[in-house]
């Protein structure tokens, strides 16, 4: 089952590209077409060339055709399990990076065995920010993609985030964040000087099956302010009726 094909990245950021200049390619494999659509959309937006497949057989066929740099692979598939697909993928393209999608209660050690090769995994339900970030991490570690070589540091003013170490500092001082706080801040830092609506934030930072209200965003913004701004000149700003905005202090 072919879900969608693809031509160009739509994102404002520079297209992800390999040393030869062609865009990075990713294959999304999930039997839930809605989820595959959402993932494809998000990755396309990030500059990937995306193709999607709904089962293991199609996935391998698509991989042979596309020769993807990375694969986002649901472990539970209608025809085969993730392990079979993984073996086939490695036959097709030995150096492919794989990001597994797995249910929370899946057997942890089997996943651990699979990811030994440098691959990674994310448990469902996940947030798009997490998938995108993990995939970036994989590629960086694999040494692909020129744009990613710059390192895992994210800077806005004197606010610095080390994504790999999951460490945040402001003017040198360490800031401790909970997982959600961290991911929210990462999203803000990847979109500085831009108003982000609560709905946008909810879409990217919270998991796709979150049924709650936009009110949580307000709450977590409030948490972040206490830790990030904390008496200092504020970097997180409310734009009434529009959303929130992170920007360096103007001097």
């Amino acid at each position: 089952m072919l879900v969608s094909a693809m031509t160009t990245p739509r994102s404002g950021r520079p297209a992800l590209a390999r040393p030869d200049g062609t865009p990075l390619r990713v294959l999304v494999v999930d039997d839930d077409p809605d989820l595959a659509e959402v993932l494809s959309g998000a990755l396309r937006y990030e500059g990937w060339e995306v193709r999607a497949a709904g089962d293991g057989g199609t996935a391998v066929a698509e991989a042979r055709d596309l020769m993807p740099d990375a694969v986002v692979l649901d472990v539970m598939l209608p025809d085969t399990d993730g392990f079979g697909v993984l073996r086939s993928l490695h036959t097709v393209k030995p150096d492919v990076c794989v990001l597994f999608l797995t249910a929370r209660d899946a057997v942890e050690d089997r996943i651990a065995g699979i990811t030994a090769g440098g691959d990674d995994y994310v448990t469902k339900p996940f947030s798009l920010e997490e998938v995108v970030a993990r995939l970036r991490g994989l590629l960086r570690r694999a040494g692909m993609a020129r744009q990613l070589e710059e390192g895992p540091r994210l800077c806005v003013g004197d606010l610095v985030m080390d994504e790999e170490a999951r460490e945040v500092t402001r003017s040198g001082e360490l800031i401790e964040l909970s997982p959600t706080e961290f991911e929210l801040l990462r999203f803000l830092m990847r979109n500085p000087r831009r108003v982000l609506s609560k709905a946008q934030i909810l879409d990217r930072v919270w998991s796709y099956d979150f049924g709650g209200q936009a009110h949580v965003v307000e709450l977590y913004i409030s948490y972040l302010r206490k830790k990030v701004d904390a008496g200092r000149e504020p970097m997180i700003h409310t734009v009434r009726g529009a959303g929130y905005l992170l920007k360096p202090v103007t001097r």
Copy 2:
């Protein structure tokens, strides 16, 4: 309310065009024919080549024929839901931009995820100015349309508006605006040196179901003057019996 259909853009600005010179194409999908007509009219006025559809099936067929650069899509359709149409649209044209229309109370529901790909949405009742602006934002981020590449800055004289950051400055000084003030000013700035009637302003800046009087326009113009002109040489001018006009100060 029915707006007369027209063939060529009436607007003073150049027609929106893609790199190859042909005008940008948009498909409007809404089951309310009046609303579809209003939207179509406004977008045509902005220089788009417009076609409309009333349900998901027709929409996909039209899309296959038109190959639109963007789609304005009501989430609630008689035959399918937004996800289905979105998936079909992406199969037809993977790089299409989608702007969703949704009822206010449906936002919390399950819009989350749909917009993940960098697509955007607007809640009903919306103002035309908002739809047009969002659509421009989408296209800009997608890197289409030569005219839009200039960036998200709107300048009239020393008055500068950064739409993404929702920031307005006059000769460098920051001006704080409420949501309505912001949208009114945006409309004025996108139509400089042109007299805009109160009715025109009401139609574009206020949502289509606003029942109030033209008096609010006077009021908000007065608010804007206090903030934008504020002692300086005035840029906002009243044309008695006709409307208002924004222009740079002439020396």
